[in-house]
């Protein structure tokens, strides 16, 4: 196995790649057709990233590729060569839950839990760009993540919980936060903007 990423020859069906997942380098000789989600689950052994629909619809397989959420069932592992991946396993640090994990716990943001890793990774990326999202912005951001249990209400509350925690604002939610209707664009959280 070569250490350096090799520019594949035409005709070569395997490629040597190095992908950094949650700060750890993973090197392997992979078939070019290997999907990133299979690389993460089977080669790197990180099974927190789920395979749901396998048709780019459900978002259970969402990971962050260079800080952007992507559906890892719709990307080849070779395309992640030399790049940074974050998965749900990288959220908890030193035995401390990430605020988004804490939010899903506190606000009952999951029932069966299958969609949760993807939901959380999409939400983490949202909060890194938008520290004080409205409920509508959260709903937009997770519109490519399907949940068949919760009806999304508690997921929105969970993300708002994490947003408050990440902003260092432990105050109670403002009236209506997490209960806004999707079409209601009124911002309820601007007071705490970072």
């Amino acid at each position: 196995m070569s250490v350096e990423a090799t520019p594949a020859q035409i005709g070569a069906e395997t490629v040597a790649i190095t992908v950094t997942i949650n700060g750890t380098e993973h090197r392997a000789e992979v078939e070019a057709r290997l999907l990133l989600v299979h690389f993460i689950r089977e080669t790197a052994g990180l099974t927190g990233t789920h395979i749901g629909c396998d048709t780019t619809s459900c978002g259970a397989c969402v990971v962050l590729l260079d800080d952007r959420p992507v559906k890892s069932c719709t990307l080849f592992a070779v395309q992640a060569n030399g790049r940074q991946i974050r998965t749900v396993e990288g959220l908890e640090q030193g035995g401390q839950l990430h605020p988004i994990q804490e939010g899903f716990w506190e606000e009952h943001g999951l029932q069966c839990g299958f969609c949760t890793p993807g939901m959380m990774m999409t939400s983490v990326a949202l909060l890194e760009r938008t520290p004080a999202p409205t409920d509508d912005e959260i709903r937009q951001a997770i519109s490519g993540n399907l949940c068949r249990c919760t009806g999304y209400v508690n997921i929105v509350k969970s993300v708002q919980y994490a947003a408050r925690k990440l902003r260092g604002d432990d105050a109670e939610p403002t009236a209506g936060e997490g209960l806004e209707k999707p079409e209601d664009k009124a911002a309820t959280t601007e007071g705490g903007a970072a």
Binding site: Q9, A32, R33, Q79, G144
Partner: protein, 293 residues
Amino acid sequence: MIPGKFAYLAARSVDEAVDVLGRHPDEAKLLAGGQSLIPMMKLRLAVPEILVDVSQLADLAYVREENGHLAIGALTRESDLESDALVGRRYPILADTCRVIADPIVRNLATVGGNLAHADPANDHPATMLALRAEVVATGPNGTRTIPIDELFVDTFETALDPAEILTVIHVPAPVEHSGGAYLKLERKVGDYGIAGAAAYLVLGGNGTVQQVGIGLTNVGPKPLRARDAETFLVGQAPTEENLRGAAERAAAASEPVSDLRGPADYKRAIVRTLTFRALSRAVERAQNGGAA
């Protein structure tokens, strides 16, 4: 689902990609954002023997105004076009379009060039680019050429691009004073193909009448459609509700929907009528509030 085997090349330049496509016109396929191609490969609807990955050619990802047009690098991600400040200010029709493509996560990988070159009549940028009378630039073994948008779409999944040509840039004419555009789509749910979509772009003359208009339709024919009769009807007319409805009626008549899971053909035609009217109305509103595409 596992795609078929292929040989993979991460192209380091457009020239390198063109060279491989030229030597393997029947076997090689370009991989850009991959959000249409990879699902097709997983279903084995596409089984390319060679995949030329251009997705990381950073010099093809940009949005800038130059020489009287907006130049969009073909590898610009939909999410980047959607959040681009210049696009938001001057080309709201493009932001309208990006916002309804697939879902926000898919848009982080999906490219504007791919959305056009894939030539799926259900894709959204084709109708918008038809309305805007955009041009695309293709690079091939003999250099570059410009293709007017009306000549790009040949049939379902088929464009005027030669096998060894790569769509590299899209040129959208810069908005003039009193111009405006809008794109609307009806979809069953986020991420599904649209039931139908309508793009409208128009320029109002000094006396307030419609000087120029473009209307493009999504997913109501074997390829993206231009509603020519509707355009002809509207030019020289005042943008009254009655006239906009008259144009929308003609757009509905020009559409060629087929009955499927997303509804019967008559229903889709009715949707085209409604969406075209609303897109035209919003375009007029934007045109009257200044000048933005």
